[in-house]
Amino acid sequence: MKILTHPTSSVDSTMMFIFVAAVLTMPIWLTPIGAAYPDLMQRFVIFGLFATGFNILFGLTGYLSFGHAAFLGIGSYTAVWSFKLLGMNPIPAAIFAVTVSGVFALVIGYISLRRSGIYFSILTLAFAQMCYAIAYSDLIGKFLGINLTNGETGLRVLADDPRMLDGVLTSGIDTSALTVNLFGLDLTHTWVWNGFQFNAGFYFCAFVLIIASYIAMRIFRSPFGLMLKAVKTNQNRLNYTGVNTKPYTLAAFVISGMYAGLAGALLCITDPLAGAERMQWTASGEVVLMVILGGMGTLMGPMLGAGIIKFSEQKFSTWGKPELHEFLAFIPDGIRDTVVSVASLFVGSGWHLTLGLVFMLIVIFLPGGIVEGGRRILMIVTGSNRRNRQIQAAAQAAE
């Protein structure tokens, strides 16, 4: 018998506090493991946001979308258009990205959610591939006779774009560098203190992530979240309980689409460029990997998964044989060459092989992901399993 104890609000507050502290001090504690580059940290945060949103759909309702990268791309394109038309401020860009991706999610979700199971997955995949093809060849732009996505080159901000609000919001500041700025604060700026790098763009993204995670936590613990979990376990029962499941799943779909759009907008902060490859189905697959690896349906899992994947990608994909030789220096010379040549399959350009293998192992042996693994270890260590059994024995005796 399994006993579930739910975190109380004070546990959640503590967790949230630790999380906020951990995110804000990332430039410090990531330095020893060599991951404190502003660019990489920003990716941790952005993909953590993307995965958190995806988890609201996949983790809670169980609907597996294979097309969420489309919303990431739509968010990016919208953000760049906001930069082009309104100016280099990230706030209108984020607001528009969330709105536009939300509208797209509403339409795509409304149609896709008429089906469930694999049909749903394929429908979302079809929509995403369609968005990709449309963006890659700028089909709508060609149709309308304007340059909407700028095709395979990608959309970027040009010097002669109107940027109407730039003069208003940042009077007296030179914005001709075309970098994103928050009311004059250049978001590509990095302060250095004792060798630690504090990047303005990273903190902007971190701030957004904290708010978004807090909202996700509220959703998880709310009656709305409970209904979404019920959709996953028994949709039939829920219908006969007087609940209309369609709007619930659609709401989850739209929320996760908005998270993806927001993540897409944040991707344009360091580099105001939107390309179609962001919408390819491999990108949709990646966010599934992140959520599964971390633990679907858990609050922190997706963020953990996103961090691990982006970190390993950065590390492993840049490794080659020399690094491996150095890393495996403890192995005797004779066999080291063999070990290195085998290991080199898994690093550098072969990093996706490692990713695929790890992913398979997780799905086969630990469908609950890292969070579930951690929970099991914790249970063994604290012996809470035994305590649970005692509670169950008591419950059975009382029966």
């Binding site: 929509f127 093809a133 089909l139 599934v288 350009s349 092989l353 398979m360």
Partner: protein, 341 residues
């Protein structure tokens, strides 16, 4: 008119490939109840199997003699080892290297399918569809990356068999001027081949007891289980057959598109759309939807159509899939109750 006939031929060849992959996907789904996202990887493996077999057949070894080149330097003379081993027969083998390597793909892919089913898929019969999708998706990544590690990311060109190469002139058949409707011979062969395989599979299911059990299993897995027929072994075999069909489809496709490690994924996405349009679990649906979408795709690639709606050829399949699923939620020939939850 001529252009339309050409597009029909094009569509039949493309549709043939879609239909073959979709057929295997449906067989696996219908019998084993597993959603196999690694099916495209089997297509890719088949293609590379043919590449490997061909390079094995034409592998050259040094004879020990040296020869002077036109520039006066000396190089070692090499001859294919099959020539050394079998003499004249070896030379014939090399001339026929492409068809022979395609034939050799059959046993290899059967074994690959067997190992895959026994090693992985079997343990996922009872797991949720989402987990089946995920684990086979992971497997697809692994297989593609292994091929990339061995062969690199660039496509590997493969010639068609000499006897079946070149252009075929269909003008006479349609009563046009000679030379107006010419079409690559091998592509037409591909269509005939896919039609042939589909016919064999349908006959097999229709006229053999084995096929009858499989069909009954596709109708209702539980009932067949109750009959006491050892369905497990038959399903393993069915998986191997499906893997072989996908592999063969890939091997035969190598002269048409030079294979790279990613080819499987491209075909998989399209084939899944085909299966869903045809109706999950319906073999007839898979085949007809394969050809239908192949034809639609080639027609929408015509300049006359593209002039009206630019870029329609790139989105037509997805557009059709969305419309079909909205109008006929179970696909063209889908049955009630298949993959409803």
């Amino acid at each position: 008119m001529d252009a339309i006939i050409l597009q029909v031929l094009n569509g039949l060849e493309k549709g043939g490939a879609y239909a073959l992959i979709a057929l295997g996907l449906t067989l696996i789904f219908g019998t084993l109840g597993v959603v196999n996202f690694a099916h495209g990887a089997l297509f890719m493996l088949g293609a590379f199997c043919a590449v490997i077999m061909r390079s094995l057949l034409t592998y050259e070894v040094a004879t020990g003699e040296v020869e002077a080149t036109a520039w006066g330097t000396e190089v070692a003379v090499t001859t294919p080892y099959v020539t050394q081993l079998f003499g004249e027969f070896g030379n014939t083998l090399i001339d026929w290297a492409v068809p022979v390597s395609i034939l050799l793909t059959i046993p290899v892919m059967l074994i690959v399918g067997l190992v895959m089913e026994r090693g992985l898929i079997r343990h996922f019969y009872k797991r949720p569809h989402a987990e089946q999708i995920l684990v086979t998706f992971g497997l697809a990544i692994v297989l593609a990356e292994l091929i990339k590690a061995q062969f690199g990311a660039n496509p590997i060109p493969v010639p068609e068999p000499a006897a079946l190469g070149g252009m075929a002139d269909f003008s006479g058949i349609f009563g046009s001027e000679p030379g107006t409707i010419t079409y690559p011979m091998w592509r037409f062969v591909y269509f005939l081949f896919s039609a042939f395989i589909i016919l064999i599979v349908f006959c097999f299911l229709k006229f053999t007891t084995f096929g009858m059990v499989v069909r009954a299993g596709m109708e209702d897995r539980e009932t067949v289980g109750l009959l006491g027929i050892n369905i497990g072994k038959r399903f393993t075999f069915m998986f191997a057959i499906s893997a072989m069909i996908a592999g063969l489809a890939g091997a035969m496709y190598t002269p048409i598109i030079s294979p790279d490690y990613n080819i499987g994924m491209e075909f998989l996405v399209l084939s899944f759309v085909v299966v869903v349009v045809g109706g999950m679990g319906s073999l007839g649906g898979a085949v007809s939807a394969g050809f239908l979408l192949g034809l639609l795709q080639s027609f929408s690639a015509m300049n006359e159509v593209k002039a009206i709606i630019p870029g329609i050829d790139q989105i037509i399949i997805y557009l059709v899939a969305i419309i079909v699923l909205l109008v006929r939620p179970r696909g063209l020939m889908g049955r009630k109750g298949v993959m409803e939850t």
